[in-house]
Structure formats: structure tokens, C-alpha cells
Symmetry: C2
Subunit: 349 residues, 2 copies
């Protein structure tokens, strides 16, 4: 399930190495991150992406910054640099704010080792949480399998898989778990324009794992759902509001609408770290706007006429009313404040 090639980030013998996801699916290229700037660039350029993996990578970035210069000034500057890379996900902010506070209270001479220890811990915690999400999502797929012939048909959007995390994936965790258990499974993979993370990343990792899947354009899911070809949707999240609204890759909302219209359950796989306990208003989530060239060009091919304006919103917010449930590492709950607080009673309200 986690062959070496599928480890999106490693820290071995003092070296942080990432799988460069912009080179997938055709080339498996590992790159060494040596500095804070390497790390910030890797996040911005989406060599690593996915809210959980961004958080873990940023922690290693903080550690690399402390290796270079463990001063208070550099601690603050490193935190600001990393926070500015991607505005929408909530893991990044949580990791950096926590790590900054922890390191500020340590002596400068201890900061490098403390930061690497914490990054390692976050990496392992992420994998454990994802395995738990898999355990809690498994019964959802098993119930479907028990009531139909043929494979359980799952639709997913973007990549909330191994490659979006330190390992195992969030939305994919129930799929990997079900596949391990021998449940018949087939995954419809939205290609996920403009960056095609579904076509290039989800298809690749499902292929590595041997899970049957088919790539479709983002336009196709509604038609499939109208024709009984989807049993359940499972997506990831970059930020889940305490009110249950799910911020995820642009286009998620459209699939949730189609699922709702066709009576198909729609789940988000939600690691606790991605919950924004302070936010209830979906309109207040900062939606990253990326370079329009990601829409206008693909692999050097220009898709639009010269001079044509393009817009490139990275995420959308799926209203809680369209979400059947949230699959967290602590269990499945309703997409609501009551549901989330029931699973995380220790979080102050």
C-alpha cells in the first residue's frame, strides 16, 4: 500500500526529499529540499500539494530555515514566507502557527532539532489519521457493496490521495481500505482542470495500487449520476468550516449538487487538522486565485486564442446541506457544528 515510490515526502539522513508531483504521471522525480526557499517554491509551484501534505512540508521548511539561521528574526520571517504560499488550506496555518510558538519558546540552538522532530511527528500523525479515516469510511463502502451486484462505484474529484498527504490519503483512504478487504471497487476520477490532479495524480496512485478506475472530464459526473453509475462521492477538503461547509478544489460544489439531485451520498474525508473551528461563514473563506496561464495553457499548448482573458479560482465551498457526512479520524459525523463538536469535544467553542 505504501511502496517507497508512493511516499510523497521523506526525511532520511538529514535530507528532506519530495516526489515532484508536477512531473507525474510520466516521470517519477524526487527532489531534495535544502532551504526554506526551496520549500516555499515547491509549495507554490505545486510540486507538493494537498492541504495535509502542504502542512507537513511546511513543517520541514521551518526546520530547514532553523538549520540555516535559528534566530528569532528568521523564525518569524520563515513563518511568514510559508504562510503566504497558499491561502486557502487550513492545515498550513495551523502547523506554522503552532510550530512558530513552540520554537519561540526553545533556545535557538535547539530549534533545528526540535523542528525536525515536530515535522516527523506531524508526518506520522497524518498517516495515522488517514488510516483511521479509512477505517471509518470502510463501512460506508461495505454497506453499498452488500446491497448491489458489481463494483462499488465511487466518484472522486481532484487528488485527496496518498499524494495529497504524508501517506494513505484522505478521500482515498476508505478506497484503499476497501480494496485491501477485497470489496469490488471502481473509481471514477474527475480529471480536475485546470491542473489535472485527478488525471495525473489520482489515476497514477490508484494505478500503482491496482484499483480499477476510469478518468472522466469534470463535466461528466452529473450524467453518470443521472444514470445510476455512481454509488457514492468521496472528496477531500482544504478547509472544513465548523459549520460543516467544505472548501475543496474548484468544481467540488458542482458534483455535490449532482449527488444531491440524484440521491447519491456525498462525503468529505476530513482530518481534524483541516477543521477551521473559528469560521462559520462560507463567503469569508479566502479563495486562492492562481495564474490564469494554468487555464490558458496546458503542457506548453495554448488552449485559448492569443490575448483571451482567463480566470483561475482554485477552490469552492460546498454548502453543508449538500454533504451527507464528514469522515474524520474519529468517526463519521453530520456536516454541522453539532456533528463536529460531538467528535471533538475538547475544542473550545
Amino acid at each position: 500500500m505504501l511502496p517507497g515510490e508512493l511516499e510523497p515526502i521523506t526525511y532520511v539522513d538529514g535530507a528532506v526529499r519530495i516526489l515532484d508531483q508536477t512531473r507525474l504521471p510520466h516521470d517519477v522525480v524526487r527532489r531534495c529540499l535544502e532551504t526554506l526557499d526551496d520549500t516555499a517554491h515547491a509549495i507554490r509551484a505545486m510540486r507538493v500539494r494537498g492541504a495535509p501534505l502542504i502542512g507537513v512540508t511546511a513543517a520541514y521548511g521551518m526546520a530547514l530555515a532553523m538549520r540555516t539561521d535559528p534566530s528569532d528574526a528568521n523564525l518569524g520571517a520563515a513563518a511568514e514566507t510559508l504562510l503566504a504560499t497558499r491561502p486557502t488550506g487550513v492545515n498550513l496555518r495551523r502547523v506554522i502557527v503552532g510550530l512558530r510558538a513552540m520554537l519561540a519558546s526553545a533556545a535557538p540552538a535547539d530549534r533545528e532539532i526540535r523542528a525536525f522532530e515536530e515535522a516527523d511527528r506531524l508526518r506520522e500523525e497524518d498517516i495515522s489519521m488517514n488510516r483511521a479515516i479509512g477505517d471509518h469510511g470502510l463501512p460506508i463502502l461495505r454497506r453499498i457493496a452488500n446491497h448491489k451486484d458489481g463494483p462499488v462505484q465511487v466518484l472522486t474529484h481532484c487528488n485527496a490521495g496518498i499524494l495529497a498527504t504524508a501517506g494513505y490519503g484522505t478521500a482515498t483512504a476508505p478506497m484503499y481500505r476497501a480494496f485491501d478487504e477485497g470489496l469490488p471497487l471502481h473509481v471514477w476520477v474527475d480529471e480536475t482542470r485546470p491542473r489535472n490532479q485527478g488525471a495525473s495524480l489520482t489515476a497514477w496512485e490508484l494505478g500503482q495500487a491496482g484499483i480499477p478506475h476510469t478518468v472522466i472530464v469534470d463535466n461528466a459526473g452529473g450524467h453518470l449520476m443521472q444514470h445510476g453509475l455512481v454509488d457514492v462521492c468521496i472528496v477531500g477538503t482544504d478547509r472544513t468550516l465548523v459549520s460543516g461547509h467544505v472548501c475543496n478544489k474548484i468544481g467540488t460544489y458542482l458534483k455535490a449538487l449532482a449527488a444531491h439531485d440524484n440521491g447519491i451520498p456525498f462525503y468529505a474525508a476530513v482530518p481534524g487538522l483541516s477543521i477551521d473551528w473559528d469560521a462559520t461563514d462560507p463567503d469569508a473563506v479566502p479563495i486562492e486565485e492562481r495564474d490564469g496561464r494554468e487555464v490558458a495553457e496546458l503542457a506548453g499548448v495554448r488552449l485559448v486564442p492569443a490575448g483571451t482573458p482567463t480566470a483561475n479560482y482554485g477552490f469552492d465551498v460546498t454548502p453543508a446541506r449538500l454533504v451527507t457526512g464528514l469522515i474524520t479520524e474519529r468517526g463519521v459525523c453530520a456536516a454541522s457544528e453539532a456533528g463536529l463538536r460531538g467528535l471533538y469535544p475538547e475544542v473550545a467553542s
Copy 2:
């Protein structure tokens, strides 16, 4: 409004010429259609596409077949060849069935000239009908303009423009008409995967006409609608069932869901020729499945890992309940049998 470059098909001095839409937006290439096979290939390869233009092109294809061999046998064979090119649109079937009957009753020696005359008539009729759709759609845009500051924000999917017709377009007709009238206008253009007709064709023709527009990925429309950035959706249709269901390019249904969820009017521009008076069941519409390579590859670039399966459904059906109205050449009506029969009382029920 109709500079020579924007005539998708011409018949001048005995030669049928098409604008090769697979070469847009970067190259403006005209090709001569000399035979039935040229014509069938041009339709299958989507050098010409869009239900109205397919119908007109097929009529010229029948005429070219009659030029080669006006026998009864060839008349039947030509009709079958053309009918097999694209299964979903209804204009094609209507044109071919009507033309075949007309020519069967004519002497073979007269068939070539009769067929070209009829093709010319259909071409001119299409342009007239589209202009009428523009006239009837204009008040919809004008009402919006009267109640807001800034441009009327229209979202459209695929290309139901000049390039989908003999001229003027269907969904674009109200936009061209409004622009001529000086209404402030901005069009969000869905790129429309997998063949990117929005990015390459709609953007190109709106650019030629000088209408402000922005290309977005198909995933983005829901987010725009949630944030008040779309005032109205107008799409085309390949087949409108008498019950008001609208079959159009894959992904249309998802935009209709988002429009409905956000209280945004959603119109289809419906030439009478695209109405299927015999069909009420949306599940009975044949949905063309095209080569999966259209999903897997783009301009020679492979988007998915080697060996990854892809599926490529060409169209979906938007339920009538999500459609605010149908803009026909005779006026705007409800998306219902009562609405359509009210405008076309002469059609036997």
C-alpha cells in the same frame, strides 16, 4: 457581425467550403468538401460541429452525393452514412430524412440541383432563425441590464455560437444582439472539456466580435454563481425533448443545477429544428460516446498515465425543471410540452 471569416460553411461557384474548426483558434483554415465521404469525415472529426451546422453540412453532403451518383441506391446509402456520423443531435436526422424523401420523389437527373437548392435554403433558414432567437433573447438581457450596474454577466457552455450554426449562433444570438444594441456585456466561457469548444471556438468568435469575455474551466461556474458573478446562463441544445428536457454538451446539467441552486435564470436557445416532438423520456436520448483519447490526450500531450482507461460521454440531459425558459425563433416559452406546443401549434401531437 458576419465577416467572411466567420461563415462556417459556404457554397459558392459549385464548391462547398467549411471552416475547419479543429484548427481554431490558432489557424483559420478553409477546406473544400468534394464528396459525401469528405462531408461525413468532416462531421465525425468535428471539423464542423454544433447541431444546426451539422444539419446544414449534411444537406450539402447529400447534394455532393447526388452530384456523384443520383441513383436511388446512392440516395439511400448517402443518407445512412450521414445519419451514422453523430447520433445525439436531432437536426441531422430531421434534415436527412426530409431531404431523402424530397429527393426520392424527384427524377435522378434533377436531384443534384434540388439538393443544393434545399441545402442553400436550410442554410439561410438557419441564419434567419438564429437572428429571431437573438431578437427574442434580447429582452432577457435588457431586463437584467436595467436592474444592475456594470455589465450583464452571461455564462455559456460549449459553443452554441456562429460556429455551431450556419451563422449568428443560437445561444450567442441574444449576446450579439445585445452587444449591437450597446448593452454592457461580459461572457464567462466554459472551456468545455474534453474538446475545449468554449476555449477555442466561443472565445475566438466572441473575440472576433469584440464582446468582452473570460475563459474559465468547467469547474468554476458554480463558484461564480455562488458569488453573484453570473446573471444568466444561456446554452445551446442538440436535442430538446417535447417535454422540455434539454440535451446539450456534457456538463450543461451541472451548470443548470448551480444556476437553480443560486436562483439564476438558465435558458436554452432552441431552434425549432432541434425539438424532438416524439420524445419525452430523457433516458431514451442516445448519448454519443466518443473516443476516450479525446479525454486522455490534448494536442498530442498525454494527460493520464499510460494504460489508464477513460470514458467520453458527449452529452447530458438537463431536466426541464432546471430550465427557466426556451428561447426559440418564435419567442420564449416554458420548458414544457405546453410551452413548446403553444409556440408550434401546427406540429401534430
